[in-house]
């Protein structure tokens, strides 16, 4: 088992390394170098044409003439010290840009993890209790069909219906611009009001997974002997379900919630673009449009690392929750 655990951590580290290598080599695989072309931003500004000497000087200055493995070591050293380079568009360090926008992403990702877990467990229990009845079949077919709609299309539908057609919710942003809040309560309300539709979209896209998992594990658990024992002892139906069945069925749901965060970190880019929600997904879109390469790389790294951390945490939590795994 210890061996298994080590190989799991090793696999995560290997994955991280592959991402770093891709991140490092992609810009260097592109034709040309940063000094072969120069452009003038403003009208009237002189276009600087570098002489060969100047070009060599700058290549030397930025360390681009050194062998690749040395460059890679420097890159790794910079990463370790939290230096992700400078964003071309925002004109400030990439790490600052990300820190500025990460909380918004965390808010909607964590919010929808909590909401989809609660609702998924609730609906799954309901479905498991009524299995073999019509309501279970209808619910299951509906949920499965629902799961096939990708989150950004779902978000677009919600946005069109609730914001554009009914005008109930804001079309973009995370807070009202230039708002003057009378107190923290109003501030919180405004944030929740703006985050509502993105959270609903992400929750709906994850709901089916939790629902199916809860339903199926509950159905498996209820065939176990200890449930029959509990019923034979004369426990009420409510106690049997909550204390005996649900408690055992929730274990996989906890791990599922952890993986969900990882999945959503990947999908959040599109959902944030749909709602123009200023998280890291939205700035990734801006960075792509503006070809802001350092920022793109930084965001990729943050998303990848957070997914890997989630997987690692899930693995740790699971062995804590289920003693059978740790043996």
């Amino acid at each position: 088992m210890a061996n298994d655990r080590n190989s799991f951590v090793f696999r995560l580290l290997l994955t991280l390394f592959v991402i770093l290598v891709i991140n490092f080599f992609l810009p260097r695989m592109m034709p040309g170098d940063p000094f072969s072309t120069t452009s003038a931003d403003e009208v009237g500004e002189e276009i600087i044409v570098m002489t060969e000497e100047q070009r060599l000087y700058y290549m030397n200055y930025y360390g681009l003439d050194r062998p690749l493995h040395e460059q890679f070591l420097v890159y790794m050293k910079n990463l370790m010290t939290g230096d992700l380079g400078r964003s071309i568009y925002y004109k400030m360090p990439v790490s600052d840009v990300i820190i500025l926008h990460l909380p918004w992403t965390m808010l909607i990702v964590l919010g929808s993890t909590v909401i989809s877990t609660i609702f998924g467990v609730f609906l799954g229990t309901l479905s498991a209790k009524n299995r073999k009845k019509g309501s279970d079949r209808i619910m299951m077919t509906g949920m499965i069909a629902f799961a096939e709609i990708p989150s950004f299309l779902l978000g677009l539908i919600l946005l069109l219906f609730f914001s554009a057609y009914l005008r109930l919710f804001p079309l973009a942003g995370a807070i009202t611009s230039f708002a003057d809040y009378s107190g923290p309560a109003e501030h919180t309300w405004d944030i929740l009001y703006h985050a509502f539709l993105p959270i609903v979209t992400l929750s709906l896209s994850q709901l089916t997974g939790v629902y199916l998992l809860t339903r199926n594990t509950l159905i498996t658990v209820t065939t176990k002997d200890y449930i029959r024992t509990a019923r034979a002892k004369g426990l009420g139906e409510k106690t049997v379900w909550t204390r005996h069945a649900l408690r055992n069925a929730l274990l996989p749901v906890v791990t599922r919630a952890g993986f969900m965060i990882g999945i959503m970190m990947g999908g959040v880019v599109l959902v944030e673009s749909v709602f123009s929600y200023p998280g890291i997904g939205m700035i990734l879109r801006c960075a792509v449009v503006g070809r802001d390469y350092p920022l793109i790389q930084g965001i990729l790294l943050v998303i990848a690392v957070s997914i890997l951390i989630c997987n690692l945490l899930v693995d740790k939590i699971y062995s804590k929750l289920d003693p059978r795994v740790a043996i």
Binding site: T15, I19, N23, T141, P150, Y293, L300, A304, N311
Partner: protein
């Protein structure tokens, strides 16, 4: 029996088998379709509709998709069935030609990565040893990579073109079929009839092609449908972010240009500009999902039992 073989000769048997195969394929398609549930049948019909739309796009549309044929942002009417976009291009033709785009990308990615990945998996499972171990590690890492963010970054660096999108999608979707084909091969390999065939002197290639591949094939086919819907979503997502091929008119590109149009939500334009591609994408994905669920159910009798309890 043996005498018979001698009389017929090798060529005779071969042609007989081929004829039989075609008959089996046709009858298996018919029986499979009759086993489909109502949802599955709807799915198949829906896909056929989309395919017809894509194939006969020049016939059923009045205008080429990338030509300015009307006023800017015309509402749906007799001249333009679904209206026009901001440049005055017909939306109905864009939808029809966009179907070509989505289907081509979905099918290309699914077939190459499904059967290519499957072939790699079968080979590795059959040969075992270091090759197998190396492949498994590669698959583990490929499956752990956050595919969509990486897709965005790679296509941002490589530049927007359909070929790039297809290649990157293949790069990220071969691992799952390879893994499943490998585990299937490992299970089949131990069967007595395979060992018997090997003892009779069957070459590895013959065993793979005649015995293992036909067994793994149905599972791969279900995976191919899954991958194709995944590829369609990914292409639409990339195009929606502005990373699609700007010269092509895919449904994702239509969503991108419509949502990129400033103040689209404050005008009625979204009703005929944004809704059609949105509806078509969801329709296509639902059809594919229905089919793949039904195929899964038909191919795996164990699932039926599971559904019962």
């Amino acid at each position: 029996m043996i005498k018979n073989v001698n009389v017929f000769g090798y060529a005779g048997i071969l042609s007989y088998i081929q004829a039989l195969n075609i008959n089996i394929i046709v009858s298996s398609i018919v029986t499979t379709f009759s086993k489909f549930s109502t949802e599955g049948k709807i799915g198949v019909l829906g896909i056929i509709c989309v395919i017809l739309m894509a194939v006969f796009a020049p016939v059923i549309t009045l205008y080429p998709p990338q030509k300015i044929t009307g006023d800017s942002l015309e509402a749906p009417g007799p001249a333009h069935i679904l209206g026009t976009d901001e440049l005055g291009m017909d939306i109905w033709s864009q939808i029809c030609y966009g179907a070509r785009m989505s289907l081509t990308i979905g099918l290309a990615v699914a077939f190459v990565s499904g059967f290519g990945g499957g072939a790699i998996g079968i080979l590795a499972g059959y040969m075992g040893g270091h090759i197998d171990q190396g492949l498994m590690r590669t698959i583990d890492v490929t499956m752990a990579l956050p595919s969509f963010p990486l897709l965005i970054v790679i296509s941002a660096f490589l530049g927007p073109s359909i070929l790039n999108v297809v290649l990157i999608l293949i790069l990220f979707s071969w691992a799952k079929p390879a893994r499943i084909a490998r585990s299937q091969t490992l299970a089949i390999k131990k069967n007595n009839y395979i060992i018997a065939a090997q003892n009779y002197g069957a070459k590895p290639f013959y065993v793979l092609w005649k015995h293992i591949f036909p067994e793994v094939m149905p599972v791969l086919f279900v995976l191919v449908i899954g991958i194709s819907s995944h590829a369609i979503i990914a292409e639409a997502g990339l195009a929606f972010l502005g990373l699609g091929d700007p010269t092509s008119k895919s449904w994702g590109m239509m969503l991108n240009s419509a949502t990129g149009f400033s103040s689209i939500y404050f005008t009625p334009y979204w009703q005929w500009w944004l809704l059609p591609p949105l509806f078509m994408l969801i329709f296509l994905l639902l059809c594919l999902a229905f089919i793949s669920r039904d195929m899964e159910r038909i191919l795996d009798p164990k699932l039926k039992i599971k559904k019962g309890f």
